[in-house]
């Protein structure tokens, strides 16, 4: 797993209080990992801080699973 993927998973585990085993690429933040709308906003913010990127709202809407977050950040992280 890439370093980015490791960091993304760690943020998700920390913020959503879930087990590492649940954080699979297909896992949906809201449907599988118990996130509500505010949790999702917080996750995006944490990604922005950690990877020093700015994720526009229209793109943030497309980040709904662990895998989607990892691929977006692998592409955009500085």
């Amino acid at each position: 797993m890439s370093e980015i993927a490791e960091k993304v998973k760690a943020i998700i585990i920390d913020k959503l209080g879930v087990e590492a085993s649940e954080v699979t690429p297909e896992a949906s933040f809201t449907n599988d990992l118990g996130a509500d709308s505010l949790d999702t906003v917080e996750l995006i913010m944490e990604f922005e801080k950690e990877f020093n990127v700015s994720i526009p709202d229209d793109q943030a809407e497309n980040i709904g699973t662990v895998g989607q977050a990892i691929s977006y950040l692998e592409e955009h992280a500085k």
């Binding site: 913020k15 959503l16 209080g17 118990g34 505010l38 906003v41 917080e42 913010m45 922005e48 801080k49 700015s54």
Partner: protein, 417 residues
Amino acid sequence: MSLRRVVVTGLGAITPVGKTAPAYWEGLAAGRSGAAPITRFDASKFKTRFACEVKDYNPDDYFERKEGRKMDIFTQFALIAANEAIADANLAAEGIDKDRVGVIWGSGIGGLTSLQAECIAFAHGDGTPRFNPFFIPKMIADSASGNISIRHKFRGPNFVTTSACASSSDSIISAYNYIRLNMADVMVTGGSEAAITESGVGGFNALKAMSERNDAPEQASRPYDKERDGFVLGEGAASLILEEYEHAKARGAKIYAELIGGGMSADAYHITAPDPEGNGVVLVMQNALRDAGIRPEQVDYINTHGTSTPLGDGAEVKAIQKVFGEHAYGLNISSTKSMTGHLLGAAGAIEAVACIMAMQHGVIPPTINHVTDDPELDPKLNFTFNEAQKREVNVAMSNTFGFGGHNTSVIFRKLPA
């Protein structure tokens, strides 16, 4: 329309001298000080470097991490105290209509820790706003009553009262009124505060309101002592379950006491200084006695506001003598802030619990740290100095006054067995 009677059927507390209601009472009756050097942050450059913290507090002992981190510490304290009181009153029992159970909480300040953390983080950044989405819901004072209702599905009236250090006496009176007026059958009320932060301590230091007795923290809160030099900041929460009398009787609830009256007034004098004549304080005690329909001679115990400030303590005592006349000498007076410190918006709630426990146990909790008589205060008054006193308490009054000139008094009565 006749007003309905209201009784207390549950108690909860998390305080600097005990982390449950029974432990809190034990601390008070033993005359234990909750003051110690500040551990929450590095206070080495502050004028006051001690406070009454809730000892060894770890939110993980009470909440799942995911849940706990979405609440400011003042809301965590609120839930801890309310959960204890709700369990004590057995409100989860079958047959309680949750549409008729409300929550009115009190907090003078709200989520100061969260506000401070977010502002510091922003100031350290490059100007890009990265405010956490939980920041506002953590900070706003009404998150306390909101979270209690969400946890327990109580759908009755729900809000928070803010009147500085009178906040939770006002929440108790509000809750009382909603039941009296038949707008609810049961109310979870109380107050919480958690302002032992850099901004809280620094802010109160700037007002010159706090004791700076850094060499002896546990002796710093000394209401009515000649050498008093300001209040000691405390934190925590207490909760009371108020319930309509017939409702409580019908379900066989344990009844601690009856809430028989509440009074409110304003000093209309200065935003932080008390009126030295105590006019607003005279008025609030008269209002409470009238609401309760009792004579001053019927009161046994007054848990005073008594914060250990040079001006405030004297003004309140003067007012008590004006309202109670000769009977002032027959009263037990004590300030439990000598032990707990000043819990600001939670003071009214923890002191209401102290009054009810005093009735239950027939013991007046003391005003500790008395060394030197203040020649300005009448020596014939009984301030319950240094040690608890045995006394049957049938009627107890609790006074709280807040910055802004808000004054509130509530009166409890023991129900005949």
